[in-house]
Each structure stands twice: as C-alpha cells, then as structure tokens.
Subunit: 121 residues, 4 copies
DNA sequence: GTGGTCTAGACCACA
DNA sequence: GTGGTCTAGACCACA
C-alpha cells in the first residue's frame, strides 16, 4: 500500500505523507479506517519508527488522520480534505504560472501545454 | 539588480540563480553583457563569495552565462534560453498536474483555476 | 448518557471522567444514584474495562462518586461538588489569564473577550 | 534567557516553544534577531539537539521564527504575532468559559473571578 | 500493543 | 558553523 522511492530526492517522511494523502483523497482509505501502527509500518518499510512518527504527525497536523493514544491512527472525515487539497494544488499552480508570466509565457501557451500534457504519464 | 530574501526558504544560491535567469529571460541583461564579479556581488549582498561562486557555476551549467578566465562572467546568447526555460516551466506544471490528476482533479478544473488565477499577481 | 469522541485528543478515561462530572454537577445524576457498573459501561462503549475502572477511580479520588464493594458505584453528596468544581475552573482561568498578562494582554481585553464570547455556544 | 522546568509536566520542546513565544511577544526579542543555534542551545540547556530542533520547527510553523539554512534561526516580523496569540488565548478562554457555563457558573462570577485573580501570581 | 517524548549520534547540504 | 534528516533505541502513559 505504501512504498518508498529511494531515488526520490524528497525526504522519506514527506513521501509517506504524500502516499497517505493520495490514498485518502482517492477514496482507497475511508473515514475512521485504521492505518498501520507506527511500529508495523516502520518494520514493513524497513525504516525507523521515528520517521513514520514524523509523517503521521504531519498528516494529523494537516487534518488527514487523527490519533487515539494507545489505540492507533485513523483516517479523518475526508469530505473537507479534497477541497483543501485542491486549494494547495492551485496555489502551487499559481506560483508556477506567475513565474511563467514573468518569463513572458502567455496564459494560452500554458493552457495549451496542460491540454496536451496529460497523456505524459 | 539582485537581492536576497532571507525569509525565502530556498537556499541563497538558488535565489541568485533564479534572479539572473529572470533578468536574462526578460531581456534586462543582453547577450555578452558582463555580470558582476563574484567578489563584488558577494560584498554587495553581504554574503559568502562561495555562495555566489556556486550560483554562477549553476548558471553556467544551465547555459545562461559563460566564463572567460581573467575577464569575468558574461551572458550567453539568449535566443535558445527562453525555449529551454519554457520547457522547464512546463515540466514543473506537468508534475503538479499529475499530482492533481492522481487526486481526482480534472483537467477542466485546472484550466479554470489558471484562467481565473492570473489576476492574483 | 456517556459517549466518547475518538477525535478528541484527550485520553478516553479523562473524557469519561468529565462526562460524569458534568452529569453530576448539572443535576442529571443525583446523590446516591447508582452509576453503570464498570463492565456494563465498558460493553456499552466498546472500550476496555480497565479504562472505565481508571475513570471511576479518578472520579472517586475527586469525590464525585463512592464505591460500595459488591454493590457498585454511587454519586456522592453533590452539595460541595459544585463549589469545588468552580474552584477548579477558576484555577484554570487564572492560569490562562496569567499567560495572557505575560504577553501584555490587559485585564480589560480579557473581560471584553469573555463578555462578547458567550454567544459562541 | 531560556530555561527548563523539569517539574513542569509538559514536554521540554513545548516549554521551549512557549518561552520563545513570550520573549518575542513581549518585545525582548525583535524582528530579525538571531536566536541561539540548535546545537548551542542544546548544550546550554543540557538537552538533546533533536528536542531543540523540534521546538524551532514548531516556532517556525507558528510563524514566530524563520530559518535560513546554514545561517541560523531568526525572529519573524512580530507585528502580526500578538494578534494571533491573543486569538489563541481567547479561544482557550472561551473553551473554559463554555465548560463553566455548562456547570452553571455565570458570566458575572467569571468576570469577578478574573477581576480579583490578577494579583494571584 | 500503541503513540509520545527524548537521548545519542551520524551524515548531508548550505554558507 | 548551521539546520535537516535519519537511525537506533529507551522509557512513559494509555488501552
């Protein structure tokens, strides 16, 4: 369910955060589902529990999971999350578009680039 | 001409690289213009010469400037640069769009977001 | 009568303690009323009996209930309890006000904030 | 400037966060002041650098400091911070007042308690 | 078992 | 020197 890409330059905890966000946003994980315990996931991925702990802390801070001490971590009510995530994505997009405009790229060029670019992956 | 934002989380050398790229792409700096010496710029910005050196190395690697030993650093022929920069921007855009698609955001939503978002700056 | 909010960051036993305190202070439970047995409540709430046991121990320690071996747990004489509870609340309030004063917030600002804030619930 | 109270039940990192918040809010530390490096403060307080690191991360997340990699941590522009902190305090106050109201304590009692309570510390 | 905090210490990028 | 990430492992509160 969760995997780490060691060629990815990003820190491990950040990758873990992103994987869970996508699993939740795409509806693979549902509200109140229990996610793996810090220790279990650490063993599964062969990484240190502290790193998982940090990822879970961040997921909780961002509202994707909630923690019940002594019980485990659970998926939050996801209804609001997709909206928030879209806002994040759009904010990133706007930042890059701003850069693009500064370099003289037009809005139309960008839209054309996106129109054509989806098949890329 | 060049300034540093210490509140920006990015490393200083990266900020310096970006400023020069934009100055060149927007035509403020022209082909074969001499840019400040490593030492002068370091003094002007009150930062370590190593940091400027690194930024210039990166700019040279990316083809934005060329170095003439004993003479200084000069802006490259910019005709190809804008195309290359656009490719970089599009590559970043595609990366984010990919994330968006993975979370179930549609191409139309993204385009609408960009259409509306330009006034932001 | 008693419920648990798993999204509440506080430990479960603490939530149970608080619910009973409020039920007693607000007169829903009266002196010498029998409260549910540890086992029954544990089954009802689907939680570990140890957790209920711990909550009841804490309620007894604070004087809200008393235990009769072989009979069950009963609500204490509540006449003194409200006074004690008010003292607890005031102590918490004073702690926060102290923090506020340390940050330069004035007594008047606080009182104004409370005056206006009541409608919040 | 910073000290730890080992009798305080709160975690060390939380105490460090609070001390710095108060120093900044009260104007002891000013915008762009450098705060001690992670390692130095760890040595001074005889605690682990990771604990300080965590406190600084939290201070940055809350907007009290900003980090320049390789340079150190610096106090943010504090003009907005006091407002935000007041909101936090008022939110806590409202939560407790709500509890108080639920137990039948009146607004007047609370205000009287605060009026009289300031001298307490 | 489960998460939360902390210590001790390594290695990296950046300045 | 300075922060960022990570490992290894301890001890605690809670369930």
């Amino acid at each position: 369910m969760i995997f780490i890409d060691y060629r990815d330059a990003r820190p491990i905890y950040e990758q873990v955060v992103e994987r869970f966000k996508l699993l939740i946003l795409r509806g693979v994980l549902h509200s109140d589902d229990k996610i793996p315990s810090v220790r279990n996931l650490a063993v599964d991925l062969s990484i240190n529990p502290n790193t998982i702990q940090r990822a879970y802390m961040e997921l909780e801070r961002q509202g994707y999971i909630y923690t019940v001490k002594g019980k485990g971590n659970f998926v939050s009510d996801s209804s609001q999350l997709l909206l928030k995530y879209k806002e994040e994505i759009f904010s990133e997009l706007r930042k890059i578009c701003k850069e693009a405009f500064e370099a003289g790229i037009t809005k139309e060029e960008i839209i054309a680039g996106i129109r054509g670019g989806e098949a890329d992956d």
